[in-house]
Symmetry: C2
């Protein structure tokens, strides 16, 4: 038995193989998009389908393994930005920038993680199943942005700012609503109040806790 060796060698053969398969899958998915089939992935890895299923169970398992690698990296980067020594405002900006820089640097990975079910076949007019949410959120964001631009005096660069805020506020509403609908951690009124408070700048007003480095 060379298990002792393996631990020093850092990898059992199965894990090694699994990593190779994941890397092949990664290549295919980032090249062909989410429509990549198990057959294509297997071919890229130089093997055939059943082996993939032995390693990952089903397609969801493969996806999960694939997603985990990328999300862990992103989360680590975000935690680092969030923990850096600086004042709160700077930390917030740094975290935002880290996230945006990540998705900017690897847009294929981002689209794979966030919009997996796109473009099933190349027709004109790229709408398809799974894209419904995006149009709705986009429309809400754009409309809110226009309302803000029309009614709020934001000084210079007002339009750009208003659109950003529109999409940001809509996203805030959507994500909080989605989470709340699933977990029901509080009443609707409380949720509304908290979100409105957030928009009203209580994040800036709140004091740091006495025992921490502040946020």
């Amino acid at each position: 038995m060379d298990i002792a060796h393996r631990t020093t060698d850092q990898q059992t053969p199965a894990e090694q193989r699994r990593r190779e398969l994941l890397e092949a899958a990664d290549r295919v998915v980032l090249r062909d998009g989410p429509k990549a089939s198990m057959n294509a992935i297997a071919a890229e890895a130089g093997i055939t389908k059943p082996i993939l299923y032995r390693h990952f169970g089903d397609k969801g398992g493969l996806y999960r393994a694939l997603a985990t690698r990328h999300t862990d990296a992103l989360l680590d980067a975000l935690r680092a930005a969030l923990d850096a020594p600086a004042d709160r405002r700077r930390r917030v900006e740094s975290t935002l920038d880290t996230y945006l820089a990540s998705i900017e640097a690897m847009p294929q990975v981002y689209r794979f993680l966030m919009h997996p079910a796109e473009e099933p076949h190349q027709n004109e007019q790229g709408f398809d199943v799974g894209r419904h949410s995006a149009p709705l959120l986009r429309r809400m964001g754009e409309e809110l942005g226009q309302v803000i631009a029309e009614r709020v005096d934001l000084g210079p660069a007002a339009e750009a700012q208003a659109r950003i805020w529109g999409h940001g506020i809509v996203g805030m509403m959507h994500a909080a609503g989605d989470w709340w609908l699933g977990e029901r951690p509080c009443s609707r009124a409380e949720l509304v109040r908290s979100l409105a408070d957030l928009l009203w700048g209580r994040l800036a007003e709140a004091d740091d806790r006495a025992d921490g480095p502040g946020f």
Copy 2:
């Protein structure tokens, strides 16, 4: 020709038929979730597949038509809340509440619009977001919520507030990032600055425009 009649009757037979089909599709989709097959929808409508394809082109067309009906209703409700005569804070709360009440009242519709590719039971073609990207957003939201709870002094009901803010801020970042990545309307630095400004309460500070009713 009875086109004159049709215009007074408001509907040509084709449109009438289309509406019936859409209603049948709606029933099936809201009952079976997004995994509803074209066959099932056709059966519910009392006909067979090719007719659906003649009316809607492909499955995406059907879903799009279906989604449009619901999103239009939601957008109308939101616009009404946004336009109601009241001060800005009240209007914001009212809009948030309208949205949340809507998704609370019709969760099946909401899940269809926002999480089209869910329902774990067997056989999901293409990769699935709901299972994996949602986890990413949820994890980010929860972690941020914890960080806020640990470091910011929010007074009573701090934990609940912190979690809400965590998810809300993450959602804001995600939606704004997604939109920005697609349209590139400004530099990354501008986006970061605008979002941080939003979190810093500039929405509350800004004055109303002179020519409007205010937001």
